[in-house]
């Protein structure tokens, strides 16, 4: 064979190269690998997007968890600011009850001593509002007194008195209720009747915020306002 190749003409050598050299065929897996590699990659989500999404979700959860603990922006209006503290105290009583409920009238001397506020007359409850207890409170640097009632529908109604000689009541929010004109103030889901009694600020707070409940709440105001007479004790 070598003799034949060594002496072959150019054409003969070329023909022998085509005929004698083994021909290698591409394996099927190579074809498949190329097709697979050439296939367009699925749209990739940016790597940072998942991280940003996770970070955002975590931040949102943290914010939601700590929102109740964040300091709230204090209102500029002193009446509204005091109203906020009163509502917070009412919320506390609503959730946990009075810290040290006292019965009226046996505890009146002690309450007066603790709060600096005397009650010459006090609403001790009736068929609509049941007296639950009384306690001294300390709000916005003022000592005061809180009386808690619960009505037949289960609403907690808190009457609170605090010394506030210079507290102005917002005129726009004042409502005529029989012969009185208290302010009807709203804060954080609670309504309160607010009025002045000399140098004292009086609040009657409840969660009765609907239109139907407002008339009942107005009635409660009349009952408490008529029967209660707070005075500075000292």
């Amino acid at each position: 064979m070598n003799e034949r190749f060594s002496d072959a003409s150019d054409e003969e050598l070329g023909r022998r190269l085509r005929a004698e050299l083994p021909r290698y065929v591409a394996p099927a897996r190579l074809h498949a690998a190329i097709v697979e590699a050439a296939a367009p990659a699925p749209p990739r989500r940016s790597a940072w997007l998942a991280a940003a999404f996770a970070a955002g979700a975590t931040a949102l959860v943290l914010v939601l968890a700590f929102v109740p603990l964040l300091p709230r922006i204090l209102p500029a209006d002193p009446a509204q600011r005091l109203m906020r503290s009163v509502v917070a105290e009412h919320e506390r009583a609503l959730m946990w009850g009075a810290r040290r409920p006292e019965a009226i009238p046996t505890a009146l001397p002690w309450l007066t001593q603790e709060s600096g506020i005397g009650l010459t007359r006090v609403f001790g409850g009736d068929d609509r509002l049941a007296f639950r207890g009384a306690e001294p409170v300390y709000l916005e640097g003022r000592r005061g007194i809180a009386l808690h009632y619960r009505d037949a529908d289960g609403h907690l109604v808190t009457y609170m008195v605090l010394p506030a000689p210079a507290l102005p009541l917002p005129d726009r929010q004042r409502v005529q209720v029989e012969r009185w004109k208290p302010a009807l103030m709203y804060d954080n889901g609670f309504l309160a009747w607010v009025w002045k009694h000399g140098d004292l600020a009086c609040f009657l707070v409840s969660d009765m915020v609907s239109e139907a409940e407002l008339e009942t709440f107005k009635d409660y105001f009349v009952r408490v306002r008529t029967a209660t007479e707070p005075v500075p004790a000292y």
Partner: protein
């Protein structure tokens, strides 16, 4: 030309490219890598292909250039044997298995002689004689004038005859 159509036409030449790659590398796993790399490059730069020209020549050109690129890298990095022939046991692609057992044995004197030819002689014979490629296409693959291709074919055959005569002795 749509990319999918281009890929389909290109893959029609996979057997010819693989055969050429085996004779260039003498190593089927490396031939696999070389052909795959060739196609990936071709697909990536499909927009550079001029429709109407010879796709087969363009693919062979990419394959040869890819081979020479890695061959030169390997020549620089690997030891040269005493006879001046590069150490073929070193894988052409760095991630190829370093397994000398995959290097193919030559079965005939003709195959053995072909392997001993310099790359540019081996390539012209494989393209022109084995693949039956027109000289113009061979010239394009090898990026040289047609006259140079003719000259290389003549000299390659002369060298091949001489090697075969040596084997006969």
């Amino acid at each position: 030309m749509p990319q999918s159509e281009f890929e389909r036409l290109a893959l029609e030449h996979i057997d010819a490219l693989y055969n050429f790659a085996v004779y260039l590398t003498r190593n089927p796993p490396e031939a696999d890598d070389l052909v795959q790399e060739t196609y990936l490059r071709a697909f990536r730069f499909a927009d550079r292909f001029t429709p109407g020209t010879h796709l087969r020549a363009w693919l062979f050109q990419i394959l040869r250039n890819t081979f020479l690129t890695f061959y030169r890298v390997r020549e620089r990095e690997s030891a040269i044997a005493d006879d001046g022939v590069p150490d073929w046991d070193v894988p052409m692609f760095h991630d190829a298995p370093e397994d000398s057992s995959s290097v193919m044995e030559a079965h005939t004197d003709l195959e053995r002689a072909l392997r001993r030819l310099p790359e540019e002689f081996r390539t012209v014979l494989l393209l022109a004689e084995v693949e039956g490629m027109p000289l113009e296409e061979v010239a394009r693959v090898m990026e040289c004038p047609v006259g140079t291709v003719k000259s290389r074919i003549f000299r390659a055959k002369e060298r091949l005859r001489a090697l075969l005569r040596d084997y006969k002795r």
